[in-house]
């Protein structure tokens, strides 16, 4: 289980997505109104003020063995993912295999 205590305090930015890896497959998932799904476009946008609510949710789903390695993904002002690692994480490899 990740240590999510004070996660909100460490976050910069205003809007986030909640993401994690599926415990069984390792697949990247996003928190949506229908639970954890791989579709980025269905991810719920989370304001900083509601982070704590989602931290709790993350903890519960980790304890329920659904997901692992939960994280908040910061969005920029235009609503897209800010950092490169999270971009690659959400869109997959940048070359063909």
């Amino acid at each position: 289980m990740i240590n999510i205590a004070n996660m909100a305090k460490k976050l910069e930015g205003h809007t986030f997505l909640l993401s994690a890896n599926d415990l069984k497959t390792g697949k990247v998932l996003f928190y949506t109104s229908n639970g954890w799904l791989p579709e980025l476009n269905k991810a719920i946008k989370i304001e900083k003020k509601s982070i704590e609510k989602y931290e709790k949710l993350l903890k519960i789903d980790e304890e329920n063995c659904l997901i692992v390695s939960g994280r908040f993904v910061e969005l920029n002002d235009s609503g897209s993912i800010k950092n490169l690692r999270d971009k690659i994480r959400s869109s997959g490899l940048t070359f063909k295999i």
């Binding site: 289980m1 890896n21 697949k27 390695s69 490169l84 690692r85 690659i88």
Partner: protein
């Protein structure tokens, strides 16, 4: 090739059973991720950006055709149909699912393979010269010594929780193809007044503080090898720092203590351990050496026939080396084509290569730390035949040692620690320099690329090193010049401010121009020019805005 003893088989089978139980407990919630993580890491299982990654040990880089076929089977059944050969002669699968991993380990155990000690703060896979046992100038085959060290270090009770990971490499030649000077311990077999023993180097490493190893013993008799390793590891285990992960490697300890003090501690422990029953007797050594005899090679052609085919000749000149048996050749199989990330091989290629190894090379394959493969014993008369077969599976790229034979870590496409991508950079280089005569004109040149300061892509010891950085959310690349992992090992010097991804190829072009302009004879290689003229001229060209 080494064959598992009953004890080896039991150890591996028990570990598979144990890990299955741990995975079951994790999936049912009896183990939290915090509890499970160290257990999975001890079995080579990481969680990366998009998926789990399983690292499988290939002891001293030696594989049988049967093992390679099994790796292909695993790639198809449990992964995405390919595997990635690493800079420590291992293989990684990038997409396994957690519930499948115990089954994968079971499949591996059927061919005497495992993932034990491929991660964690323990003694990792022992690596060796990929031409071990094959060259005339070798003092002695290092593989039996790697096997002796592997046996001693597997589940060593005192060294399973070291301050940090620990890497050992062994070579039997004065020409260093195993990068021993950038390992925690590097061993070189040498001859002294007719006796064979080891030169011992300690404290090499890369990462954020790169160091070239220092020699702490001029000549160690063979019988004392394990006692002496035990003495070094004990010194490290007792005195190595555990308070700061960045200062925990043995290289930091050695440099903080100073070499003389460090040696004193080691020698003291060495004396204390003389009763530890680790002295190697002749029959133990002989028994291990039996596994590494040359196959029965037969007489044949003294030379590889000169077939009039320019593509074949290019490949032969670049990828074929003389074997110590005059009628045989060593074939280097490049995993650096322009179609795949460096070090990747598809399951189809693995399977076909296993067939080729059976047909032409006694079923033996080696993995190099430069992420290529070797077919060690091929009759001279059959080299053309084998080239045709390799060509059919896109494994006949004629670029061993050339600018497109890059070493490259997985970088940000896979790795959760990365600060930038590395594979696309390597692909750009391969594409940019795809013309073989241009590559040939540039000559021997090692480009090594890492996606972060952990330096898994060995950038510090690249003739041209490229380190990916994150500058305010954008990828930038720092260039170092003059590094080498060979017997003349050196850490590359940083040229100056880093380059954007867009400007990087232009910068490499400029470096090549300076090199070519300053060569004083046709075959003078990049490293020699760099050593002669220094970094200044390169800097001037790189940062000259005119």
């Amino acid at each position: 090739m080494y064959k598992y003893s009953e004890i080896d088989k039991k150890i591996v089978a028990n570990r598979v059973k144990q890990f299955k139980n741990q995975v079951d407990r994790r999936l049912s919630g009896k183990l939290t991720e915090d509890e499970f993580k160290p257990l999975r890491l001890m079995n080579g299982l990481y969680l990366q950006l998009h998926a789990y990654m399983l690292r499988v040990a290939i002891p001293y880089g030696e594989l049988s055709s049967k093992q390679l076929r099994q790796l292909a089977f695993i790639a198809d059944k449990y992964d995405r149909g390919y595997g990635h050969f690493t800079t420590r002669q291992n293989i990684q699968f990038n997409w396994p699912k957690l519930p499948d991993v115990p089954e994968i380990l079971e499949e591996l155990s059927k061919v005497e393979m495992h993932a034990i000690q491929t991660s964690g703060n323990c003694i990792r896979n022992i690596s060796a010269d990929h031409l071990a046992g094959l060259t005339i100038e070798e003092i002695e085959d290092p593989r039996p010594w790697c096997e002796i060290i592997r046996k001693w270090s597997t589940f060593h009770p005192e060294f399973s929780f070291l301050p940090r990971k620990f890497k050992i490499a062994v070579t039997g030649c004065s020409e260093d193809r195993a990068a021993i000077l950038v390992h925690d311990i590097g061993l070189r077999l040498i001859k002294d007044k007719g006796d064979i023993g080891f030169e011992v180097f300690v404290g090499g490493g890369q990462g954020r503080s790169p160091y070239i190893a220092k020699k702490i013993k001029n000549f160690l008799p063979k019988k004392d090898l394990l006692n002496y390793l035990e003495a070094i590891l004990t010194t490290y285990n007792q005195l190595g720092r555990r308070d700061n992960i960045y200062k925990a490697r043995i290289k930091i300890l050695l440099n903080e203590l100073g070499i003389e003090k460090f040696k004193e501690f080691v020698e003291e422990n060495f004396k204390r351990f003389s009763n530890k029953k680790l002295i190697l007797d002749k029959s133990t050594i002989k028994n291990i050496f039996k596994f590494f005899k040359l196959p029965s090679l037969k007489p044949g052609l003294e030379k590889v026939p000169e077939i009039k085919n320019s593509l074949f000749l290019e490949w032969k000149n670049q990828n074929v080396l003389p074997h110590k048996h005059p009628n045989y050749s060593i074939i280097l199989v490049s995993l650096k084509s322009n179609e795949k990330p460096p070090g990747d091989a598809s399951s189809i290629q693995m399977r076909k290569l296993a067939d080729i190894a059976d047909k032409y090379s006694f079923g033996e394959i080696r993995v190099t730390h430069e992420q290529n493969l070797v077919l060690p014993h091929v009759e001279n008369s059959r080299v053309y035949e084998i080239w045709n077969e390799l060509l059919n599976i896109n494994l006949a790229t004629p670029n061993i040692g050339l600018i497109t034979d890059t070493i490259c870590c997985p970088g940000m496409d896979y790795c959760a620690l990365a600060t930038a991508r590395s594979i696309p950079i390597s692909q750009k280089i391969t594409d940019h320099f795809k013309n073989y005569s241009h590559q040939k004109e540039i000559g021997d040149l090692k480009i090594k690329i890492s996606g972060c300061i952990n330096a898994c892509g060995h950038h510090h010891v690249g003739n041209i090193g490229i380190l990916g950085l994150d500058r305010k959310g954008k990828e930038f690349y720092q260039i170092t010049l003059g590094g080498s992992a060979k017997e003349n090992a050196s850490i590359g010097q940083i040229v100056g401010p880093s380059f954007s991804e867009k400007d990087l190829m232009g910068a490499i072009e400029k470096i090549i121009k300076v090199y070519k302009k300053n060569k004083i004879y046709e075959k003078e290689d990049f490293l020699s020019v760099f050593k002669r003229i220094g970094i200044k001229k390169f800097k001037e060209k790189l940062y000259d805005n005119n």
